[in-house]
Symmetry: D2
Subunit: 346 residues, 4 copies
């Protein structure tokens, strides 16, 4: 439920609405806007009688949010959320942000080579996992904290912002210290304890869609993060499970216009995990941008044939440069542009 | 199995290869090329001993086609197939062909209004069903032959080529007399008798992917048509069944680069059936063209709110004009263009 | 819409209801019952004003059928349909009918060996395909009419009833001459022309669920057959497509109680196609009977390792004998029994 | 890799094999058996050269485990694992264990009423959630620790063993203090940190299949628990996501014989979550037992219409009594029986 105040409502009037909502046993969230202030009633509002609030001084109207998710919905907040991160970067605005790098941090040489390559081609964010959630206990599980230090080193050298995954409560703290954007992976999309903890971070969160999550479930998981007070959530379509083994997953690009319709949160796309095949990454990156994606997450490895994980879907640096060129053309065709690295912006 | 003849092999040498293949109990298909002639051995060639053929005069090499489909594969034919249709039009070449119109032919006024609207916006092909395969026996099943006559009339008036669906052996003959391209719908993708009959038509066939068909199954169904001697098949991605009811189907755009990799046949995309929602058709049409689609199939109705079927996913004429403009920009961004109507070409 | 007549309503009163329905442009279907007669209004009844009928003499009440399918629904007909077939057999009653045999008729020796084996173990129906719908045009497509003659011969020798598949309009006529039950396969579940033609046969129809059909779609396809006047439809759950390749299909046994809840039609289960693995057929056959299946369709081959199709999922005769024993125990545990061959019944 | 020692191999010989494996950088796991001892080499053994070990004294043969999972496979351990729990109970042996109770612990009256009802009908384990993972942050999230204390109270009163879910690292410790079996829910099946921690508990773990997990992924998740030293894992089929919304999930009963084929771990089935409909729970419980399930997990509520969660799928106590009777008949039909409560056993 959203209480919209009149233009010119006083701080006292807003405060009184907050007090009444709290008295009724709910949490109130005042949201000052350019034209007027709204007060959101957080929680399952199915049985709230709004008439008591509607008659308070300064209240213009009561909006019922019809979706099971509240704060992430377009009904709750009409304008698109722009997520600020790193050194003056932002996601969700006119420019499309490209995040690229290897699946995992393997060693200093590898991550620095990858960072330089993606920076040179024009990416603004470096992606690479220090903690890897792996289906088998016997697969490479990531370098852990030493991997985070190598990411930090790559940032200092190239100026790239860092996005990397946290896989549990412990790694979340470590990751949040280093990363500019904290990633919650597909397998943890409904790890509600982790989502709640991510909602108490001061860092933006990149939330990947679960292996066979509906869009409604994705938005409800984002709601867990917003409900704890962190408004900076970036959603990510990375393909879902299907019956056809021809590609690793089925890339559900319709999720992009659908999320933009239902929510104010930005959404990016990961063509590497979605297709699992190097040769399909470029056309599907173009398609994602054409569909309206606010960013891309792409696997690039300086030497894919020797990657410890996901080699077959990693681009060679030269292919990534082609991807950047082609997506720049597509972005321009729809009136957007690809975000440029800090150096170029000066 | 493909027998590649030497450059300069004589017609007699080719004929001898054909004779030996037929003697072995298989069908032979000679394919003259610019540089050299190949002879395809059609059928399940798992147990054919190629050595007898390899030693014939004029034979350069024997290629084993590793896929279960043969004649539709890139291994069999390297260059993209360009399908000629209508009055000097073609599909599978540099230009992207837009086919648009209402779900069903309802009456003369409706189909002519739609035809004029899509022609004016720049489409080159009119789509509309005279025969409708419906899940319920009590739903509107199409006008049948009178509908075909109305389509013919719309063609004479606007110059648009016609694509319309055949649903069984009877309607196939009637449709083939009127249509420039005969459509086989998703529910009939594995109606093998109908595919065989479509393979004996002299008209191009638009084959839609089944509701949960794999890409391999789609290609094998196309193989049924080619195996009967009709090389002019256009594939169509129209979304597949998924667990998420947020969209009507899941639009599997990865099918486009995948089909281009595995096959020489052209593939188009149908964002209307895929999404089922008018508001998502334009972004997904852009995405399809960016992914490399050779054409689009779009539902447009002059008055969607009164459509007898699929109204919710049909564009208003004004929205279709926007779709044409935006996909033109995308096509140019990847070095293609949208095919223009005959009138404009003069 | 169902018009329930009063107990003791006269034939004239019933006739008047029929006349009014037809005057309104719909088809009327009188259904005499033990207690009273009902008259069904066939077709999309969304806009029918029932008040005119409700006030006719002899009419007790008007029932609106809330499902999109009408005549197949439990609302339309409360008692389970029992399908009579062959020489005094029936399906849908207390006894569970086992249909068994090879995937395809291959030759006289093979089909007679299989027929004797399944008859000896206690099956009452022989299954085997003379016409095979195959994904690839190069796979064995069945013997056709000579296969039907071999089935006829097997029936005369063993007394088994015959169920075999029709794949198109042509084969339907040929099959209906020989078969006791005509099978419509999964790939043809939405071949509506074929369904209509099957609705005009005087033979029971076994309708298999499509590869990823919903239960509602299965029931609507059955409705096509009933709407043409053939009330003897047997549904069949044979597994649906899923993301897990560990089994050939996903066996959706919940379909059995669900169909019994929604419809009066009987439903059988095919554990062979569902699992694709010989070792899983017996436990899943037990499970199907425990869930309430009215019959089983099982692949048995006298020599599975040399079968031309589906060898890996065919039981050896000895395994089939075990299946019969174990399903007899399960049937007894729920108060049913396995139907016995005619010979045994004498 | 599994090193099988000769019958009569000495402890020294076994120790030497262990030492060599550890020298090679792997973990060794000696497993004394009735006839002979085996030593498992734990980890990704793709590149291990077995010849060095094969030539050691006392070694009979080297078995390569061909599956990605090792310790959970039938190749690793041939006999079925029997999990001891509670006061002399066991799961995985001849008797089928029924676990029943409400979705959540709501209050003292509710949980005691449910416990008495299921005990009376013959269940041996009480199920109920104190911690509930919920898709929406605004749904009832469980009573937490007070709920655990109520479960403890219900156990003391009825003698039922307790199975209840842990949702994160914190709740795992609390749950393990009270529960006889610790449940890891479907949404946490790939929460690898939680699985590892569960592998270091001294309590049996009930691991539910993820919403769209493959059987291989389920087994790999169990491998995480065994790899930490906890051999007592019970798997649970609870339905997977499908395209048909007619039931809540698709109940994949083929998982039962498949798991028994691939693994030595026991597997139970949850017909309540699988179907989501009260009326389908009994037939599907029968089917699960017929398919070979080692146990059942069933939702029962003394007053389903007032349940705080999952009311529509909870049985009334009277229905549960019917379920017990009918599954007893099925169990007997396949030579098993339903485990009886401690009281009855005395």
């Amino acid at each position: 439920m959203l209480v919209v105040m009149r233009h010119g409502a006083t701080a006292d009037q807003v405060q009184r609405v907050v007090a009444i909502i709290e008295e009724m046993g709910y949490e109130a969230r005042p949201m000052p806007g350019k034209q007027r202030t709204s007060v959101g009633l957080v929680g399952n509002d199915g049985r709230v009688d709004g008439s008591r609030i509607a008659s308070l001084p300064g209240v213009q109207e009561i909006l019922h949010v019809t979706k099971p998710y509240k704060q992430v919905s377009r009904e709750w907040k009409g304008e698109a959320t722009v997520v600020p991160f790193g050194d003056g970067l932002r996601l969700g605005a006119q420019e499309v942000v490209v995040m690229a790098g290897p699946c995992s941090v393997e060693n200093e040489h590898q991550i620095l080579a990858a960072a330089r390559a993606v920076h040179e081609a024009g990416a603004t964010v470096l992606r690479a996992g220090a903690y890897k959630p792996r289906t088998s206990p016997y697969s490479f599980q990531g370098l852990g904290e030493p991997g985070l230090r190598l990411l930090d080193r790559a940032r200092r050298e190239t100026g790239l912002a860092i996005v990397t995954e946290a896989i549990d409560a412990e790694s979340l703290d470590a990751v949040a210290e280093v990363a500019d954007i904290v990633q919650i992976g597909a397998r943890n999309m409904q790890n509600f304890s982790l989502l709640r903890k991510a909602g108490r971070l001061g860092k933006p969160v990149l939330l990947k869609r679960g292996l066979s999550a509906t869009i409604q479930e994705l938005l409800l998981s984002a709601e867990y993060i917003l409900a704890e007070g962190n408004p900076h959530v970036i959603l990510c379509e990375r393909g879902v499970r299907s019956y056809d083994s021809a590609t690793r997953n089925m890339f559900d690009l319709s999720a992009i216009p659908l999320v933009h319709q239902l929510s104010h949160l930005p959404i990016i796309a990961d063509p590497s995990h979605a297709t699992g095949q190097r040769d399909m990454v470029i056309p599907m990156a173009r398609a994602a941008v054409a569909a309206g994606a606010d960013g891309l997450l792409v696997e690039v490895h300086a030497n894919p044939d020797h990657a410890l994980s996901d080699g077959a879907q990693s681009l060679f640096p030269r292919q990534f440069a082609t991807l950047m060129e082609e997506t720049r053309s597509i972005a321009r065709a729809i009136g957007r542009e690809i975000a440029e690295p800090a150096v170029a912006r000066r």
